[in-house]
């Protein structure tokens, strides 16, 4: 449904998107994950025909974004970051305006507005001026607008940014529901969000796609780099030696305080040292008061994959 080939975008000397390629199949919900300034919005703006690419190709539903721009724009519903709207218009008035721009006649517009305002829980707000709505409500109006002409593809740029936790949950639920009838590409910078909503994830940083795949797969590769945190009481040096000798342990960091020794243990991929650790503590009689797995944050994940990428580039 969406096909991107060797897409590159330069702003003067700045390389915003660096030779990326990916495909989104019909009916997929794809999360576009990356830190701020990674090139997510730039890629999205190219796909929605707002900016042309410097080189490369992109097409949506078989139409080229550059040469068949108006056809592409008929196929997509787009929610830009921060959902820009005209504050002086009322919600219904705005949706009527957008419907007219899509060439819908009066009956189609009325029906579509009924449908999207139901879907986005805007029912009681349709006659309110947009300027009076909260940030969360405005995001919903933006989403309602994107869905208005029932497009095949929905492209949502940070659809949950600036929302409160309840609204975020509702918004995610809505996106999941919409995924049943639309192909969706949405960007986010939180891994948890992407994991809950998408069938497929693209990780992008500094203009390149660094990882792609099902969210569980990515999660595994993140937790493979996770650490164990443990606290035991006993002679620090003995504890360090004992833990280091356990099978699968790669690196141990030790920190002593008030007679307790705090360990941060990095294990080899695929090995779980929690049980051997417990056995060690009970056999030596060193009390264990904490044992937990510290799952790497998204930042750690980015640091890790960008470092790997740099290392690979250095070798090549």
């Amino acid at each position: 449904m969406i096909s991107v080939k060797n897409l590159t975008k330069r702003y003067g000397a700045l390389l915003a998107v660096d030779d990326i390629s990916f495909d989104v199949g019909e009916g997929q919900i794809v999360g576009f994950l990356g830190p701020n300034g990674a090139g997510k919005s730039t890629t999205i703006r190219i796909l929605t025909c707002y900016h042309p690419a410097t080189s490369g190709q992109a097409s949506i539903a078989g139409y080229d974004v550059f040469t068949q721009s108006v056809d592409v724009r008929r196929q997509i519903g787009y929610l830009p970051e921060s959902a820009p709207l005209y504050p002086e218009m009322r919600v219904r008035e705005y949706l009527q305006f957008r419907g007219k721009l899509h060439g819908m006649d009066r009956a189609q517009r009325d029906k579509a507005i009924q449908r999207v305002t139901d879907r986005c829980w805007l029912g009681e707000f349709v006659d309110r001026p947009i300027g009076q709505l909260s940030k969360g409500m405005r995001q919903r109006v933006g989403l309602a607008d994107a869905m208005l002409h029932n497009p095949k593809v929905l492209i949502l740029d940070e659809p949950t940014i600036g929302l409160d936790p309840t609204q975020i949950q509702e918004q995610r639920k809505l996106i999941r529901e919409l995924g049943q009838s639309h192909t969706i590409l949405f960007s986010s910078h939180t891994l948890g969000e992407v994991e809950k909503v998408c069938s497929h994830v693209l990780v992008i940083a500094s203009g390149r796609i660094l990882a792609r795949g099902a969210p569980e797969k990515l999660r595994d590769s993140v937790s493979a780099g996770s650490r164990l945190i443990a606290e035991m009481r006993g002679p620090a040096e003995d504890i360090r030696r004992g833990v280091s000798s356990l099978g699968g342990v790669r690196k141990v960091g030790v920190e002593s305080q008030d007679g307790w020794t705090r360990l941060s243990i990095e294990a080899n991929e695929g090995s779980d040292v929690r049980e051997p650790l417990f056995q060690l503590s009970s056999s030596k009689g060193w009390p264990l008061r904490e044992l937990r797995r510290e799952v790497a944050s998204l930042e750690d994940f980015f640091v890790k994959i960008t470092a790997e990428q740099r290392a690979a580039a250095g070798k090549g």
């Binding site: 702003y11 703006r45 929605t48 025909c49 707002y50 900016h51 042309p52 108006v70 724009r73 008929r74 997509i76 787009y78 830009p80 921060s82 820009p84 709207l85 005209y86 504050p87 002086e88 218009m89 008035e93 305006f97 957008r98 007219k100 721009l101 899509h102 060439g103 933006g142 607008d145």
Partner: protein
Amino acid sequence: MRKSMVIMQRELGAYFFSPIAYVVLALFLGLSGYLFSSFVFTAGGEASLRNLLDGWAMPIMLLFFLSLLGMRLLSEEFRMGTVETLLTAPVTEAEVVFGKFLGAGAFYLIMLATTLVFGLFISLYGRLDPLLLLCHYLALIMLGALYISVGLFFSAWTKNQLVAGLLSMVFLLLFSVLAQLVADSLEGWLKAVFQHLSIVTHYSEMIRGRLGFNHVVYFLTTTAFFLFATVKVLESRRWR
């Protein structure tokens, strides 16, 4: 064209939520009413609007007012980010520009419509020449269309509407007042060149009832040029 009408409706609606538009409408009514009562509506005066429209007052007044109306047309879209939703809808830049032009034009027509009451007053006391009146309104409409297209052009350059408005005023002052003053100080063919450039020359000729082909062509081509240039500026913004 249908899409342009949709945008025109939205723009016209937006003016009624804009304090600037109300100030412009009120000042225009007040000032033109004052000019009318002191220069036209006098005992033994000429039974036409010529004394209201001729000279510097009306073109300069409109220059400021229409720059104020035109400056928000595109710069507001840039400032609010709505340009992104607008230009990713299935409309072309030309449809957007023309729609905005018509929107400001429609508001200007409402402004002009209020001055019809002056014609009514005159016809109560004298015989108004309907053809001359038509010529006057044609001149006003063409002048306004040019002013709006220049304002629209400058508002495509910046997201700051004040900057757009000031640029438009300065530019229009150069092409109406300064060109005229330069023409007055020159002789021969140079004088003719500057006179032809000056907006006010063409306007005044039409106000005096000389609806020459060259004046109409001047207004139509300059307006079309600025609309075309606006489309190009808007298109080029995509590349940045």
